[in-house]
């Protein structure tokens, strides 16, 4: 089928953009979660939420 490779490229590139965006957000979330846990553990016992 003519141009099927172009359709395939459009979908693959499009999904790659979403995938990269989601991975970036997920990595930032994981880093922040680690930081929150570290900071909570550093707080004196009486002031922990």
């Amino acid at each position: 089928m003519k141009n099927l490779d172009s359709v395939f490229a459009a979908y693959v590139i499009g999904w790659a953009v979403f995938f990269v965006f989601y991975i970036t957000v997920a990595r930032r979330t994981a880093t922040l979660r680690t930081e929150i846990d570290r900071l909570k553990n550093s707080l004196p016992a009486g002031s922990k939420k």
Binding site: S6, V7, R33, L39
Partner: protein
């Protein structure tokens, strides 16, 4: 399973189903052939991007009015997601255009206004990196976001007001436009799937802002403890 994760699974299932429908359920367009199937991804992404920018615009207005940091978090989250969708529009458009028009790009009204829209939201995000003080950053970026959204109706109207290279609208395009019923159903399903994905990504990104704020609060508590 959290609600956000459940929404992510639903979004994934919907976008896979919409891709299947675009290839196997929608009939082949007579003039353009298989390349027209990009339409279901390209236009659905554009609509989801517009909706994300609308969320950003409303959040920006609410921030200016209420000065609540949560609206700033929502604004930046929706702007980033809208930018991702617009990037897809700007990539898939030329891939579709090349075999049909014989060119990758032309400075026609729709293409140019979409590119300007992309640049405006890149500027919105860059502006945020230049201002350190949170309240000032939120106010300046909200005001810029309100201004940036003015380009959205321009992009929407460009193919209605100026007849240049980009095809005239097939949805909401007036009496002489329209889509074959199956194509129309597949398109609206794809647009719905993209909107669910957009909402999921905005919520995920909003969570990053919320957690960043929690880190700042904990750091302040630690300094004063």
């Amino acid at each position: 399973m959290t609600k956000r994760l459940l929404l992510g699974v639903v979004a994934l299932v919907l976008v896979i189903a919409s891709a299947y429908a675009s290839f196997y359920i929608a009939p082949e367009e007579r003039t353009m052939g298989v390349i027209q199937r990009i339409f279901y991804f390209h236009v659905a992404s554009a609509w989801a991007g517009f909706s994300a920018f609308l969320i950003c615009f409303v959040a920006n207005l609410l921030y200016v009015w209420r000065r609540d940091q949560k609206y700033d978090w929502l604004g930046v989250s929706a702007a980033e997601v809208g930018l991702a969708f617009t990037t897809i529009v700007l990539i898939t458009g030329p891939i579709w255009a090349h075999p049909v028009w014989g060119i990758w790009w032309t400075w026609d009204a729709r293409l140019t206004s979409t590119f300007i829209l992309w640049l405006l939201y890149v500027s919105y995000l860059l502006l945020r990196t230049l201002v350190e003080e949170p309240d000032r950053r939120a106010l300046l970026s909200s005001l810029f976001g309100i201004f940036a959204f003015l380009d959205v109706p321009l992009v929407f109207g460009a193919i209605r007001w100026w007849r240049t290279q980009h095809p005239s609208p097939v949805i909401m395009g007036g009496a002489n436009s329209g889509l074959e019923p199956t194509m129309k159903a597949v398109f609206f399903f794809s647009a719905f799937a993209m909107h669910v994905l957009m909402v999921f990504l905005v919520l995920e990104r909003y969570n990053v802002e919320k957690m960043s704020d929690e880190v700042d609060v904990l750091r302040r508590e630690l300094e004063t403890a």
